[in-house]
């Protein structure tokens, strides 16, 4: 029988980032806890480094100080000459890139998990940046299967213009972990437990892979970003309508043409236009009001991964 699996190098260096947004508290407190008590995240032969990425924002319990750290890991910002005039997060991005990158180099970390919360009702979500990444599709399949019957969704942000320069993108395998709903500045025990399990299963997967376990071909369902939808606004740019009660908390559920989307402040319903069913995500996320995003439309598709195993065995 011809082997059609993909052989990959074993994983050596993993980082777990918390506090990339300083008011998303689950990652902040998991990372702080692991900095003091690392046993839970240690696996034989693997370096796992917990790290607070935006300490000043964490201290102030705010998303960021000057600009969104999770949008500045592009060559332009990473290449800027260091000066006191640079936004704090751009300077910090360069420090992080030096510690865990450099991005797109051989020295960069193998995997970075970046821990986030959302005010949207998204449950456990894994964010994938590349649809052809067999290793991460296998990892996400493992996490989804391990968490079941708790649902775990995969959000694919591969898009020519909507993909953004994430903090985790300096690693060979970037993994976004997003769990909600949780208000900014609040730490909920149920959300903490879910995120902790996602990390545990992810590390178990890496451990199994490094030990030589072969993962057979698999398929996962993913939700791929199509477009971001802003709030309806008045002539002054102020929000004139809010998420309709029928859409609130309905992340990942089919939204059909004609279904209510917004409710204007004077009580009128605005339905979904177009002629195709979409799957909304990040519905009514607090941090996206300023980014002019009421929700994002996704389409559902299946990704396949080839069999993988580690090169060491």
């Amino acid at each position: 029988m011809t082997s059609c699996h993909v052989v990959k190098d074993s994983i050596k260096k993993v980082a777990i980032f918390g506090g990339t947004h300083g008011n998303e508290l689950t990652g902040v407190f998991l990372v702080k806890h692991w900095l003091e008590n690392a046993a839970e995240i240690q696996r034989t032969g693997l370096e796992v480094k917990p790290f607070i990425t935006n300490p000043r924002a964490v201290k102030k319990c705010t998303r960021y100080i000057d600009c969104d750290l999770n949008r500045v890991f592009n060559p332009e910002n990473l290449g800027k000459k260091i000066s006191e005039d640079l936004p704090y997060e751009v300077r910090r991005a360069q420090e992080i890139n030096n510690l865990f990158g450099p991005k797109d180099s051989e020295d960069s970390y193998d995997i970075i998990f970046d821990l986030h919360n959302t005010t949207s009702n998204m449950g456990c979500t894994l964010i994938l940046e590349d649809s052809r990444n067999d290793f991460l599709i296998q990892m996400f399949h493992y996490i989804k299967t391990s968490l079941s019957p708790l649902p775990c969704y995969v959000y694919l942000i591969e898009h020519p213009s909507l993909k953004y320069a994430t903090t985790r993108s300096i690693a060979t395998y970037p993994v976004g972990i997003e769990v909600g709903p949780q208000p900014q500045g609040v730490l909920r025990a149920d959300i903490l437990d879910q995120m902790r399990k996602m990390i545990k299963y992810a590390l178990d997967f890496i451990h199994n892979f490094n030990e030589g376990k072969e993962f057979p071909p698999c398929a996962i369902e993913v939700y791929k970003i199509m477009e971001k939808v802003d709030y309806p606004r008045n002539e002054n740019g102020e929000i004139a309508a809010i998420i309709h009660p029928n859409l609130q908390d309905q992340d990942w559920k089919p939204l059909r043409p004609g279904d209510p989307v917004f409710l204007t402040l004077d009580g009128k319903t605005i339905p979904l236009g177009g002629d195709s069913t979409v799957y909304p995500v990040f519905v009514n996320e607090a941090a996206y009001y300023e980014k002019k995003e009421a929700f994002a439309k996704t389409t559902k598709l299946t990704l396949n991964a080839k069999s993988i195993r580690s090169a060491l065995h």
Binding site: F29, T119, Q184, G185, V186, I242, Q248
Partner: protein, 317 residues
């Protein structure tokens, strides 16, 4: 217990404040809406004034700029000599005191309704200083009767001997309206619609009173603050755990001695060590982490509220 005197004149000067905390969005958006279209706040006997209480914090979508505006209406802040280095909210409190007060003066507004949100699962929570406020308790009763299917609880927050410090304390009378749960910086349609209906019903009540309606005596369950409990903390002052899943979202439900209240990151539970049943409220409110409050303990009791007599018929307008 001595009761606050009930009004003997119609309430003509009424205000509805939103955005006292700039990231509590129901009030921020309602106040902005009413500043553009105040018709909704008009009644035959009065027109309520919409107030965006902390515009700088609302613009930045933050609770406050320098300090909590809703803790700044004490005589120390209101009467100190103004200084250019004063915190923004101290200056703003003096401005609002000019508009709505001066506090404890005959020129002050008759009633101020102050709109808030919380991340805690309090549902509709009517916030009064004390049970001596007979007029406000009648207003609460009226609101409860509007939608009896929804829980609508009365929370008395003033501790014995404590000076009043809230925005509505600038007026002769007033109360806070808290709706939750809603994350900071998020506007939910269900809570927005609910708050709008509650404000309309409150103004309707004042109209009924102004036009000579009498309200009979009744008994009412209230929750009075008796203390607060902080999160478990490390030696450095960081959180060592968070609200236990069995307590999270259980505002106004009885908490018994020995029940778990916190889950430590190490996996252990911390238990409630009080000696009697309390009713926790504002459980896991985002803004109270910095105040060292994981929840308030309240005691539940029943108050007998005397009748609110009709106003004597005045001269025809």
């Amino acid at each position: 217990m001595c009761s606050l005197p009930v009004p003997r004149e119609p309430l003509r000067r009424v205000a509805v404040a939103g955005g006292t905390h700039g990231n509590e969005m129901s009030g921020v958006y309602l106040a902005r809406q009413w500043l553009q279209a105040p018709g909704e706040l008009q009644r035959p006997s009065f027109s309520a004034t919409p107030v965006l209480a902390n515009p700088a914090a609302a613009a930045a979508c933050r609770r406050y700029v320098d300090r909590d505006l809703n803790r700044t209406f004490t005589s120390a802040f209101l009467t100190a000599r103004p200084h250019p280095d004063d915190p923004y909210e101290v200056t703003r409190a003096r401005e609002l005191n000019q508009l709505l007060g001066p506090k404890a003066s005959g020129q002050a507004f008759d009633f101020v309704l102050d709109l808030h949100n919380t991340t805690a699962n309090v549902g509709t929570c009517l916030v009064l200083e004390a049970a001596s406020n007979v007029f406000a308790l009648h207003l609460c009763r009226h609101l409860q009767l509007q939608s009896p299917e929804l829980p609508c609880r009365v929370f008395l927050y003033q501790l014995p001997g404590e000076e009043s410090y809230s925005v509505h304390s600038a007026a002769k009378n007033g109360m806070g309206l808290e709706l939750g749960p809603q994350p900071q910086g998020v506007l939910r349609a269900d809570l927005f619609t609910r708050m709008r209906a509650l404000v309309a019903a409150a103004l309707d009540f004042i109209q009924l009173f102004n036009q000579g309606t009498a309200f009979p005596a009744f008994e009412m369950e209230v929750y009075r603050k008796v203390g607060s409990v902080d999160f478990p903390r490390t030696e450095a002052g960081d959180l060592a755990g968070t609200v236990h899943p069995q307590l999270q979202d259980r505002d106004f439900e009885p908490l018994r001695p020995g029940a778990p209240i916190f889950q430590l990151f190490s996996g252990e539970d911390a238990l409630y060590e009080g000696e009697s049943i309390v009713y926790p409220v504002f459980i896991n409110e985002a803004a109270y982490y910095e105040k060292g409050i994981a929840f308030f303990q309240t005691e539940k009791f029943t108050v007998s509220v005397p009748a609110l007599p009709a106003l004597a018929p005045g001269p025809a307008p």
